[in-house]
Amino acid sequence: MSVLIIAEHDNQQLNPATLHAVKAAAGLGEIHVLVAGSNVAAVAEAARKIQGVAKVLVAEAEYYRHGLAEELAALAVKSAEPYRYLLATASAFGKNLMPRVAALLDVPQISDLTEIVDGNTFVRPIYAGNAFETIQTSSEKVVLTIRAAAFETAAAEGGAAALEQVEAAAEQKLSRFVSQELIHSDRPDLGSAKVVVSGGRALGSAEKFNEVLTPLADVLGAAIGASRAAVDAEYAPNDFQVGQTGKIVAPQLYIAVGISGAIQHTAGMQDSKVIVAINKDPDAQIFNIADYGLVGDLFEIVPQLTEALKA
């Protein structure tokens, strides 16, 4: 029984998402990684070194450059025959691609796993994390996506997998890449940061959001997140959104500033190791899940906290 993990990358660097996927798949069988792209030698080399990977399949074609689901799904299906599991992280990449693969193979998918109990039994959140279902399948083949925050990362070094070039699948030409607009930031990636500082609607404006949260995030080396309400009010870009419809995070330390604690938001951060809530409403829901709560005016407390951390 073996596993094919579809690697996530930008043709130059392997995305840490793949390391989470390798770790999650460790108990399922021999792990192979498929690296599809254009000029991906460096990515293939990085995949080869991941601990626990037995083989790396490399497929090169110009039409794999932008990770279009239509193209990659055709390739994954072509490569799928020897594997029982096809797996990726439930990132935007994995969520886009894997259901297409499952449907083309006419097999079920189980999305966003938080636990792999055994080869047939998986746990996943439903209703925005308000319940967890345990699913069993005896399907001959199954497509899985895993929640990165629920699994550690495999060691990026130490492996020595075999490399195998595989033929590209025929070009599908159903869609074409037009453009991409990535937000560049020197901050750690929200999805994998050890510390996250998130702001809510109580920040009041985009200016205040930055003015109050940036110094705190700087002193902690933290990523900045936001509640959906703050994103909807345009205090922060959508990319910052933590929650059911945003990113799921589980850092060592999560500081929620001026966030009420709606289900939508807590669904995205309740697995953080330590949660701190700063809110002037002592009855805010967020205090029910916070390890440390501080009731008061965030415009006073956050600068004080920033100063205290510098000391």
Binding site: Q109, I275, V295, L305
Partner: protein
């Protein structure tokens, strides 16, 4: 140009669901139900495309028990032209839903298919991509902007780290995200008018699709509860706790 919109009846997003005592499922008896919020955005987008003269007819489809009719009436009140109800009380996995929608698409021959990116009950997020695969059509998932030309749908997608724009050959399947639009408030005259619109019934058997189950839910459980924390008096005490008690900084 014809648009097909799929809508699902789900527990209202404001309801906090409870797990049944026997751990078999969540308890949704006597709970408020609504159209899946992402599907509402899909309907709104179809209606806006029609208002812009890009789309000439909107067909809304729903699958499920008798009450899915209510959800279809909401879609009609929002501006869909007619509705199709695939009536079944069986539990449908996303792959089966995609197969049923494919069967509808084969008959209706829509140019653009709009679906929510996920349903807020099972949170699977699979149906739109699966439907695109079965139709051998292009897919534009997590769409925050849709522009329609004669041959293509140009879709801006929300991806990790930013936005991506792709051009999809028609027919195309679009999975809509939150920021695409704000669904309209439905006014009473529209609700009355919707009652007169056509709502056709069909079944999985009529559509020639077998309802197959691959996945068996063995248990539904509450999430692990977090221990109630403590309130601290000020920033200095908080820093002390984080350093010396939680040891996270």
């Amino acid at each position: 140009m014809k648009a097909l919109v799929a809508v699902k009846r789900v527990v209202d997003y404001n309801v906090k669901v409870r797990v049944k005592a026997d751990g078999s499922d969540v308890d949704i008896e006597n709970v408020k139900m609504s159209m899946n919020p992402f599907d509402e955005i899909a309907v709104e987008e179809a209606v806006r495309l029609k208002e812009a003269g890009k789309v000439s007819e909107i067909v809304a489809v729903s699958l499920g028990g008798k009450k899915s009719e209510d959800t279809l009436r909401t879609a009609l009140a929002m501006g869909a032209d007619r509705a199709l109800h695939i009536e079944t009380d069986e539990k449908l996995e996303p792959l089966t839903v995609a197969k049923l929608l494919k069967a509808v698409a084969d008959k209706e021959q829509p140019h653009i298919l709009l679906l929510g990116k996920q349903a807020i009950d099972d949170d699977a997020g699979q149906t739109a991509q699966m439907l695109a695969a079965l139709m051998n059509a292009a897919q534009g998932m997590f769409a925050s902007k849709v522009e329609l030309t004669e041959q293509e749908a140009v879709v801006t997608r929300e991806i990790d780290g930013g936005l991506e724009t792709v051009a999809l050959t028609l027919p195309a399947v679009i999975g809509v995200d939150l920021r695409l639009n704000e669904p309209r408030f439905v006014k009473l005259p529209n609700i009355m008018a919707a009652k007169k619109k056509t709502l056709e019934k069909t079944s999985p058997a009529d559509l020639g699709v077998a309802v197959v189950s691959h996945l068996n839910v063995v248990r539904v459980a509450e999430p692990k509860a977090r221990q109630t924390g403590v309130k601290v008096a000020n920033a200095a005490e908080l820093v002390d706790k984080l350093k010396n008690e939680a040891k996270v900084i």
